[in-house]
Symmetry: C2
Subunit: 168 residues, 2 copies
DNA sequence: TAGTAGTTTCAATAAGTACTGAAAGCTTAG
DNA sequence: CTAAGCTTTCAGTACTTATTGAAACTACTA
């Protein structure tokens, strides 16, 4: 397989995988391209390689920066801005976990807290089932939350090491 | 808060959360409703509670059964089919992980394997960056894959226990 | 300070995805 | 066998989300 083909397939695969996870396709494709490119790229480079419009490129680059996955880079002598992605996949995944946790798990926790306070007779089967399920989800969410915190703080080797020890 | 309000909010929250994860809103809402309902519900019950059409209900119930999250139940004397959700959140999450792993991680692995075999001079910076990144992603994916296998097989208490030990 | 290179915004539009409802297909009971 | 009750399918439509592209904006440079 030629490099150009392989690159294209990687970008396309990454994009469609992202779609299944509620992430914008273009955002994932820009990220993929930056991941496999050693040097920083300009917005125009991205537009050309991915055949996307200026607006689309701009919006998704900004989003990637916001997620902490891409950095703006100034190249001396150049007036344009360039962009560079963090290449360490472990760091990338920790960053994604961190952001999704903040944006989703924490708000969910708040909602569940409120839902726990339902009025009504606890001997009523419907009320009981509801509070029990919500309670269990809350427990699960808070345990997940804690575990992810550990994972985010963890050093790569330490984490996999511990996990392998768990597996025995 | 009244039970009916709380139920409605839970269903709505679950639905919008699902959307962010690439899961159909209706599917998540049906699941949410079944989760908090102690007794089995018929398709008509679901249609009414969620104000959705017959086709929509049918399609998403089938999908939930396919994911292993909901079971068809026969109630003696009734001609209709009824549906019941697994209530143990730990089992539910393991099931979801199992399915997504099968549907996404395994195909990704296959693609990455192929991409690793790029022709070209390894001293070329572009080729080098590409093979390195793909190699790292592959390592990451296969480690994740193994860890998730462990998690899927794990007994709840054992798993959280080990994780807590890790945290110290 | 005007001109130029580069960046950002956003209304219009396109693309993608989900939902409806009616019709066709089953299955069971009489 | 056939009518009633229930389930499944799917073409058309509605809804949601992503993308374009041109105009407005910003910042540098001479």
């Amino acid at each position: 397989m030629k490099l150009s083909e392989a690159k294209a397939q990687f970008i396309q695969t990454w994009g469609s995988l992202a779609t299944q996870w509620g992430i914008n396709k273009t955002m994932a494709q820009i990220h993929a391209l930056l991941l496999i490119t050693p040097n920083p790229l300009s917005q125009d480079d991205l537009m050309e390689e991915l055949s996307i419009s200026r607006g689309n490129a701009n919006m998704n680059i900004r989003e990637l920066i916001d997620w902490g996955l891409v950095d703006r880079v100034i190249i001396p002598g150049e007036r344009k801005e360039f962009f560079l992605a963090e290449k360490d996949i472990w760091k990338v995944s920790r960053q994604i976990i961190k952001e999704r946790k903040k944006r989703e798990l924490e708000p969910l926790n708040k909602v569940l807290e409120q839902l726990q306070e339902v009025e009504g007779d606890k001997r009523n089967a419907e009320v009981k089932a509801f509070t029990e399920t919500i309670g269990n989800i809350r427990k699960f969410v808070s345990q997940t939350d804690k575990s992810l915190d550990t994972l985010i703080k963890a050093d790569e080797n330490w984490f996999w090491g511990s996990l392998i020890k768990m597996i025995k």
